[in-house]
Symmetry: C2
Subunit: 703 residues, 2 copies
């Protein structure tokens, strides 16, 4: 067997008294090398190179502990183990119907003598072709619990890279991305902050993961740091030190003054560095999912990709409201809605919901989300009110039984909505009743929300207790055969592999930010989407919001660009977010939304540059249809699409949904063209994208 | 109607510009007077007198707020309202079958102009014959939420009273009482602290409520400060200032750095001062229950007083163990108990539980508690482990179905046990499944426990989030028709009136402290029991624990004194805590435990002195039987019991269970005598109580 481990080199012979190292482990293709060594003073460190070029310089590892102080030196290696793993697994839903998980692993066991006790700490490395990851494992040992003051994982960059980053924040991920050199993070930090009801930025050098970077103009290299399998542990930020070009991990505190409390044995989440010389590899890698455990649900037959509409955009734009009455600041337990005067702007009325059901059912949607159906919305925002919702009582003008029956009679389901307003203890108290109500009426998916400061006051969205809550909500939903789409919860880290009923998250700036810059959608697939699908809520057809609502924003997008998002932003849960009446005006363009699948057997990223453009092609799961999408930032551009991904020898009918030549996200956002062409695997098309625009193509074999 | 309010005197005429006051409100019998005034600078204050003697000197009221700073001055009275209330209500269970709730009320409305906004704050006083109470009400106002840094309610004592106190502590109430002058609190504080796994004493001048005091040797007066209706708010301690003889309220922080976060409108718990010239009045007053809301449960038919035995004392004494195996520090989610080697000391085995069922059923008990039935006890104590229990998985040697079936076939139920180890988030996650399991197998009562530090780490047992949890657990139990007996939860404050499925609490030092001083049981009814019943777990017959267990303690009590506790320590939930084999040796004495009811139509406290002795007589609910109990501290004494409470003209057969003449809690604890006599309402008996002893009498009409 020894020859199988030629990729691992022990440069020195280990003896009982050596501190250990250096050790090296390579990717299966041999291009990516990770070195581990216990440096002078017993300080564990790693470095990495890709294709002969150093990508991470010597970077130290360790922790600051409440009891033991710095666990960053004084270690000795006691053992190391190497192995190679190659498996193929089939996701319940995904960008592709099978995923290869091929990596080489190095496990290093270390010991540190302290005054009181020996501390055991292992580091595990996994090296894939498209990146590497490491995590800490605290094996069973005398110390049963560690209180972590800080994790001190370093990522020493080899230069002042270009980065697309959002500010480190304990409470929100809903920021625009800033493109800057790493050295400019602090200077650009204040400008990068935008108002958010629960923003808790904490350091001008702090950024969030996944952090997309690029270096080397002539021979570009793309790097991305994220984490995988965030379980029972706070979310990690990265703190940049400009003088050493080094990131250090920065955990999210729990509000009680601790970063993390862990019981041994314990494994931290994986710290992941993705790397490639092709930007499209960063888009296509499944490394984050691969670093998560296999699915633990015995039965996944009830989990299904879902295309949905929603009684939502009309509230977001202010055309209607979630609430029922102008009364507010009351005790939900005693307030009598039956005696309250309705303000007349309630969106989730029985009649209005029926109108949506009719349209959604007539156009082949699976579900209809209804927000504002339940009592409590009068006090929901910014009030930090413990008992803000009960999740089971409908407003007087929402007939929950009749509407579900009506939806079911038309072949679709209603989608549940649980806004918690950050009052997590209250949600936990009501969760079982809330899920049971869903079972009673036939809901099988819930959009949950965590807007506003987390309760108890002083807690954060990404602290350890809250991370536990989000996963518990997913696990308990699975017990009820309920799919979860959690908004404002922590950024995903691939947990949907293990719990595929986690079909979506928000955890980034989505369409609800009506004035986002066009380039945002050209960054998200490089960053936010690496951990899991986003409920981005695309499909806005009427960009001039003032035409139908009090919101005077003109959304910076084009109709064709909105269609593209159903392909470029992979998600098993896709919304058509605009109002039925706006789709009714453009049924020819709406046809793409009706046609586009939400589950795929194969995906190809044809071309991309972060922050500039993305072109992707995907084949429908269980079908021969292909769908192509392209998006650009606020620069118009032409892209060339080679259809070589098509099956050779087959003729396809392609429908192109493109920006009109004079389309523009600001001045002419509604100008699109639809054309049909016959194409084959030899076809090469040049397609124009307007400023803030894009295109979509559906490609169906000619029978 | 005006004449009805002659008891309220406005000494000055209120005008628009006056700050308001003084106002006075009296008790229905006119003996207790409470004065309210807005003092110079707009500082609200009250004082009180009883029978012409001042009992509380001028005491200021208010708060320290995060945003507004001190809300203790600058107030103007805007209105005041007076009313008188007299109702009689019937408790679901209790010391008496009907309770009179008669008080006069004064509501003062105040306003304080601040730079930003007017703050509205009301104070409500209720004056009963046996004490008075006040609470703060934050009415609906512009400020929707207040963050309270501290409540500043003062209780200015009129002298250096004698007090029976336990140290202020955020995490435990399980202390012995210290008898001292108020001025000696700090000096005695260190000695008053005993080891406790989660003790968080915070100030050498801090004590807990209920605080029993006595003043005036020739004309003694008994005072007691407690709180009532603790809902959505942290528990209150009292901080003594020796130079001003004044207590100030001291709330329990939430661990996130706040005392309380309240939404307006909001009412604080009541701050209660009980007063009488008779110690027995302090024992009999129902003022705490009266200050709570009426029962909110529509159906209470499933709530029943319960006499039970338990697989418990054998674990407490170390004869057996809660755990199953010596393996420990494992992940409960993955540990395979079926492959673990049992250590052979597990108490809750199917065979052992059957033995208890047989004995309990044969002797007329209602239920049998079984602790240690469920997986996780290997890691339960002091580990602060989040996922410590799942509350649903039995140990391999506990056949949950067979044992419940067996118990039911014998006419008794098993009692559930949910130890949380302080891991409240974990309990909340599993609560619904845990209660559902109880419904499935026919359990209708749960003993819950909160041993150890509260999670998330840094939280306290008595902080606002935890107070919410305890009540939520009671409410959700009611949804499942489950009675709750919560140990280590916050001290009760009369909530059982509103939620009568709260049938018991521990919240003080109980029998599990095998070496407690004998006088403890002569204080508890004056203090801990004022808020609600205690699961004290009396009935120990074998005081020499070393005879049957590794515990070498000799319990300082006598058999007759243990019997007395079933009368002196009122609870609708009473345990016979000793082992079946010890009862089998003394079946004549055990007869009293079999006979004594756990629900009453009438109760008389015949004589008492805090810390010295208590004699109580109670009539069985729905019966003509009477039961008398007497306990003493570590002094032997003779008491005279006049049976004038009996129905005149009826002859009764009385069975006396008394300490033998040579009995002694240390040297001869098992020496008791049983005698039968005929008695009438004219009978007066002199009864001897040994050191640390007591007596019990059952009195049955001769048919």
């Amino acid at each position: 067997m020894k020859k199988h481990f030629a990729w691992l080199t022990a440069a020195g012979i280990l003896t009982a008294c050596s501190q250990g190292g250096p050790l090296q482990v390579s990717s299966p293709d041999g291009k990516l090398l990770v070195n581990f060594n216990i440096e002078e003073g017993g300080a564990p460190a790693y470095s990495a190179s890709f294709d002969g070029e150093e990508i991470v310089a010597t970077s130290y590892l360790g922790f600051q502990m409440e009891k033991f102080g710095a666990l960053t030196s004084g270690f000795k290696m006691t053992a190391h183990h190497e192995s190679e793993h190659n498996e193929t697994w089939a996701p319940v839903w995904g960008e592709q119907d099978s995923v290869v998980n091929h990596y080489r692993q190095l496990v290093v066991e270390m010991k540190k003598k302290t005054d009181s006790v020996d501390v055991l700490l292992n580091v595990e490395f996994r090296v894939f072709d498209e990146g590497f990851a490491f995590r800490y494992v605290f094996p069973e040992q005398k110390t049963k619990q560690f209180v972590i003051d800080q994790e001190l994982s370093r990522f020493a960059m080899t230069g002042d890279h270009t980065a697309w980053w959002i500010p480190g924040d304990y409470d929100t991920q809903e920021y625009e991305y800033t493109r800057s050199q790493l050295s400019e993070i602090a200077a650009r930090h204040t400008a990068a902050l935008v108002g958010n009801v629960s923003a808790s930025a904490f350091d001008q050098w702090a950024v969030q993961t996944s952090l997309m970077m690029k270096t080397g103009d002539e021979k570009p290299l793309y790097l991305n740091i994220h984490e995988a399998a965030l379980i029972d542990y706070p979310a990690m930020h990265l703190l940049y030190n400009d003088s050493s070009c080094t990131f250090t991990s920065a955990l999210t505190p729990d509000g009680n003054g601790h970063m993390a409390v862990i019981d041994t044995p314990f494994s931290t989440p994986w710290r992941v560095v993705m790397v490639s010389d092709k930007a499209t590899d960063i888009l296509s890698t499944q490394i984050i999912y691969n670093l998560n455990e296999s699915c633990v649900l015995d039965d996944t037959s009830w989990i299904h990709p879902t295309k949905y509409m929603g009684v939502w955009w009309e509230m977001i734009t202010g055309k209607s409201d979630w609430s029922y009455t102008n009364a507010h600041d009351f005790d939900l337990a005693t307030f009598d809605y039956s005696k309250a005067r309705p303000h007349g702007r309630h969106g989730a009325t029985t009649d209005n919901v029926k109108r949506y059901i009719d349209f959604a059912a007539a156009n082949g949607f699976d579900q209809l989300l209804v927000e504002g159906w339940n009592v409590g919305w009068e006090d929901w925002l910014g009030r930090e009110k413990d008992y803000v919702f009960d999740f089971v009582t409908p407003y007087p003008d929402f007939d929950i039984k009749a509407l579900n029956d009506y939806a079911h009679s038309k072949g679709i389901k209603l989608m549940m909505h649980h806004e918690t307003s950050g009052s997590i203890p209250n949600y936990e108290r009501h969760m079982e009743a809330a899920y049971s109500l869903m079972n009673e009426y036939g809901y099988d998916a819930v959009k949950s929300g965590y807007v506003g400061n987390i309760l108890p006051k002083g807690s954060y969205h990404y602290g350890q207790p809250q991370i536990r809550h989000y996963l518990d909500a997913i696990r308990r939903a699975a017990d009820h055969k309920i799919m979860v789409n959690a908004h404002e919860a922590v950024r995903p880290t691939g947990l949907a592999r293990t719990y595929p009923n986690l079909v979506g998250n928000e955890s980034a700036m989505g369409t609800e930010y009506r004035n986002m810059t066009p380039g945002h959608v050209t960054i998200l697939p490089f960053t936010r989407l690496k951990g899991g699908p986003m409920d981005f809520t695309p499909g806005i057809f009427e960009m001039d919001l003032g035409k139908f609502s009090p919101d005077k924003t003109h959304k910076r997008a084009t109709v064709a660009g909105q269609l593209a998002l159903y392909v470029t932003m992979y998600s098993p849960l896709q919304m058509a977010a605009d109002l039925p009446e706006h789709y009714a005006e453009k049924m020819d363009a709406f046809q793409f939304i009706k046609d586009v699948p939400v589950d795929w057997s194969k995906s190809h990223y044809l071309d991309a540059e972060p922050g500039e453009f993305i072109v992707a092609a995907r084949r429908a799961k269980g079908g021969d249809d292909w769908y192509v999408g392209g998006v650009t930032n606020d620069e118009a551009r032409d892209v060339t699409v080679s259809m070589s991904f098509l099956k050779p020898g087959v003729t396809y009918q392609a429908t192109f949904y493109t920006d009109a030549p004079d389309a523009d996200c600001d001045s002419n956002s509604g100008a699109y063209e639809i054309s049909k062409e016959t194409v084959t695997s030899r076809t090469v098309s040049t397609i124009h994208m307007a400023r803030g625009g894009g295109f979509a193509i559906s490609i169906v074999p000619v029978k």
